[in-house]
Amino acid sequence: MTPDPKGGFLQALEEAARQSRDIDELAALLRAFPEVHSVEVRDYLVKTQPPIRELAIHFQNTRFVADITLHPDGSLTVRGLHDC
């Protein structure tokens, strides 16, 4: 299955981000998605304020990078999905 970044997967990602207490927990949640083959947490922060952590999400036939905003209160939101 190739997920539509504008559709169901993005919504699921946003919900997972809302439920997660940190980026590693979000990555673990995503790894449990049946269509997700692997998730890599990039080791760098994109240094906007608030900063962004990138997740490289690999599916069977495609892959995306999710930009996850790390808010000061500890919450996570999805800034966007893009091709790598």
């Binding site: 080791d43 240094k47 906007t48 304020q49 990078v65 790598c84």
Partner: protein
Amino acid sequence: MAKINPITQEELRAFDSELLLQELRSRAPKKAKPITREFQACGCDDTPTVVAKHLREGETAGVPELETVPTGELIEALRDVQKVIYGTDDRLDMYEVTDAAHRASADGVVMLVNAGSITANNNGTSTIATQNFGTAYNLCPTERFRHQPITGFCSGFLVDPSLVATAAHCVENANLANVRFVFGFQMRDATTAETTVPTSEVYRGIRIIGRAIGNQGTDWCIVQLDRPVLNHRHVRIRRSGQIPNNAGVYVIGHPVGLPKKWAGGAVVRDNTPARYFVANLDTYGGNSGSPVFNAATHDVEGILVRGETDFVFNGNCRVSNVVPANGGRGEDCTRVAEFASLVPPNQHDFIPFNPAKAKVVHRNGRWKIEVDGMWLLDFGSSKAEAQQALKIIKHYKMNTQCFVGRPGPSMEFYLVNGQAPSGAMAGEDAISFNPANVQAQYINGRWKVVDGNHWIMDFDQSEAEARQALSYILRYGFRFICFVGRPGPSMTYFRI
């Protein structure tokens, strides 16, 4: 009864910095799992994968001798024993920076703020909405700057009076209209932040001149502002080549959206990536887009874009992520030579003269305008054109002749005491244009400066001259291009 700390301050500072770090890390509530440094995880980038040992890998145990030492004391001791601390605070507020060259470097640094965070006060000033840093981040009492305000989401810097450079992930066409570029958000003294600034210090972006992100780690954006910035310096950038290995660098920007900060004491740690270099700069979120200066030349070498984790929990509050000077992953800085072709060189070719001494002369069969024996203009056989040009010089009181691209200049203009000639003159051959629409474009194999569909000047293959000409048009606010003797004019000038 309070526990007595059995370790004196002197003994604490005798500990190895790695042991102090180990104890600090053991107090964090959660350990990050080892991760690899893999910039091109998706395989769309041909940069070789670099695998680095994660800083916290295997470091879970505390140091028994240090377990009773308060965390604040540990952090202070660590700062004292490390010669260079990367990941905490080499930062200084601008009022603390006394070096003239560094202060000059800081003058062109700007903060990027969401438009909704700025309120015009209808008295020539605007107020920036802020949060308290310490409250917003639940900072521990040891953290510096915790009482200061934060706002803004990125940093940037002037590379030309009308152009700001920043990181591509800070600005794109979709959010450009919602971005404001603000000068002057800094601490006036230890306790007072300048959260109200003259409205004249707030700029909008009207156009993205160039932008690149992703290819081998590059990340830059050049934005044209709504008007030229005439009261702040633009920086000088490296135009080719690479910063030397191990060169000293410093960064100026708005870490965490704080008032402007300087941070030095850093070096280039990895100079091998083609499109960026890595340095141990003390930067945080909000530093994206900050200029990274060569400490020896004060030229900008890079744009800060990515780096190490900013904060870690220490119990129930956050502290800066302290790593050794040679630890951590380092901070990535996009090389500015990547976009140097978009930035005018600004090597001005201006010749002052006294208009009162200008006169028409006939030398060796040619009509010329001379000043003190030096000729300004040559009109060949046309005495009428020479006389008309002299009338124009005296009418506007022009006293500086300016060129782009000599010999055989592609642009010629005149200034009056450093300003554009203004007004009009009867019988003038003038064509108006809208400076807000003027751009440098490559059309049919030639560089031109155009106003919409109409080209104003042609620069053949010289992008640098086209961009320099555009810079002058914007800087001086020219609205008319004027001629003497078209076609093949013997004199061209611009005015407002």
